[in-house]
């Protein structure tokens, strides 16, 4: 209502300005949607039932990590260790949940473990590494870029070492316990003839919980305050150090969830699992309106960013552009998204 009133009160030049801002700020969305429409026209199978389920599934798999990293970006930071943490958690979870008769099992004498227990282990690993990231950033006042860069390498090293223990000699871990895989990738609802994997629902639940955390808890409000103006937050009585530690810790937990799901989703996990996942997550967050300036971000934006990104990349596949070439497009999209973000900031000044 107020938007309509504001529009009527604007002068002609102001309306032109407003239109121009609206068009440029949303140009990337319009472009991507137009591209999707064109691709659908060229290759009608793109938005068919099975394909859409595939896109939704891929988006759901990428949502938790994007939500976790969005928190770090809101704090004006970043988290380069996200991907490797996902990889580590995926391999550990997979190694603990291999089928009992599997010949190349990593821990041959390990009984079938309760996967809820392994889930908690996954959360713990992600959470602890996240807390370490947050602690180093808060206590020593280091920029998260430096801290998470180091964490990324240390985690990767740890992962390589882990893959050599037990009966595994650096090979990929597969042959997972069927009850685990069906819990994650099985389904009880189908769209037409295509089953919707269970992890889509888990992902939605996680997203809903994050929405509450961001918007309805003191912690969430403090996160935005610290991201918006750290000094003012300190003077206003917010425990800035604790907020930073907890935001990174929460991000770590989200990476743990992602890893636990990935392990079953991919089926075969190795040291390469998780490589560069954070790039997609950061790109999705920025496209969805989470600003590098800090203090700005919405859950629905992150969801939009993740879905749009997946749509485009599945679409590019339909255009026969292979994965390596897709990096070029990905880079260009990120560049334009950052330019739009920077522009929004400069216009405000």
């Amino acid at each position: 209502m107020t938007a309509i009133r504001k529009y009527r009160e604007m002068s002609r030049t102001q309306r032109k300005e407003w239109m121009r801002e609206l068009i440029i700020n949303n140009s990337l969305y319009v472009f991507l949607i137009a591209a999707v429409v064109v691709i659908q026209f060229i290759s009608p199978n793109f938005l068919s039932g099975p394909s859409i389920v595939n896109i939704i599934s891929l988006s759901a798999a990428n949502l938790p990590i994007a939500l976790g990293i969005a928190g770090a970006i809101i704090l004006t930071g970043t988290d380069l260790s996200a991907g490797r943490i996902v990889g580590l958690v995926a391999c550990v979870s997979a190694s603990l949940l291999q089928a009992s008769g599997y010949p190349a099992k990593m821990f041959p004498n390990l009984p079938t473990m309760n996967f809820l227990l392994v889930f908690l282990i996954a959360l713990a690993i992600g959470g602890i590494i996240g807390l370490i990231n947050g602690f180093c950033t808060a206590k020593f006042n280091l920029h998260p870029f430096i801290v998470t860069l180091s964490t990324q390498l240390i985690v990767y090293g740890g992962l390589l070492m882990y893959l050599n223990i037990g009966n595994n000699n650096g090979q990929s871990i597969s042959g997972l316990d069927p009850s685990y895989t069906s819990f994650i990738t099985g389904s009880f609802i189908s769209l037409g003839s295509t089953p919707i994997p269970n992890y889509v629902w888990y992902s939605l639940v996680i997203t809903a919980i994050m929405w509450f955390v961001w918007n309805k808890t003191t912690f969430g409000k403090n996160m935005f305050a610290v991201g918006s103006n750290q000094e003012a937050a300190n003077v206003s009585g917010v425990n800035v150090k604790r907020v930073i530690v907890l935001v990174f810790g929460l991000a770590g937990i989200m990476y743990g969830i992602t890893g636990f799901i990935e392990a079953a989703r991919i089926g075969s996990n190795s040291a390469a699992t998780g490589l560069n996942y954070e790039l997609d997550a950061i790109a999705a967050a920025v496209i969805g309106g989470v600003s590098f300036v800090g203090g700005i971000g919405k859950i629905r934006g992150v969801i939009l960013g993740v879905v749009l990104l997946r749509l485009i990349f599945v679409g590019l596949t339909f255009l026969s552009i292979d994965a390596n070439m897709q990096y070029i497009i990905k880079g260009l999209i990120i560049l334009v998204a950052c330019a739009i973000d920077m522009r929004k900031y400069l216009v405000r000044k």
Binding site: S174, E231, L316, I321, V336, A339
Partner: protein
């Protein structure tokens, strides 16, 4: 505004407008170009046997079963998706959806 990653940038809004528009054009051009020249490379790793030529296919095209490779002292069992030979490639339905490598499975002749 407080100091942040964009503080001190000496870029004008007009420049960014142009940059964004050029960027979008670049993305469109890149997509068109890569799409036209694009394709997936299906490689056949014969793991010690005779060389088999890779196939370059567009999305959705069926993968042709190549002539089986030969290897001294081994009999060819078939093409598999992975090195652990858990999933055999079914050429009646195999369709190019990404670049990948399939592996030859051999059995030693006694």
């Amino acid at each position: 505004m407080k100091k942040n990653i964009y503080s001190g940038t000496k870029v004008s809004v007009r420049f960014l407008d142009v940059f964004i528009i050029v960027g979008l054009f670049a993305i469109a051009t890149a997509i068109i170009y890569l799409s036209v020249t694009g394709g997936f490379d299906i490689s056949f790793d014969s793991l010690g046997g005779s060389e088999v030529a890779p196939q370059r296919l567009r999305y959705g095209e069926t993968i042709e079963e190549p002539t089986p490779p030969t290897r001294e002292g081994y009999v060819f069992l078939g093409w598999y998706e992975d090195k652990n030979f858990t999933k055999e490639v079914d050429f009646s339905s195999a369709v190019a959806t990404s670049s990948r490598t399939v592996y030859a499975c051999w059995e030693e002749i006694e």
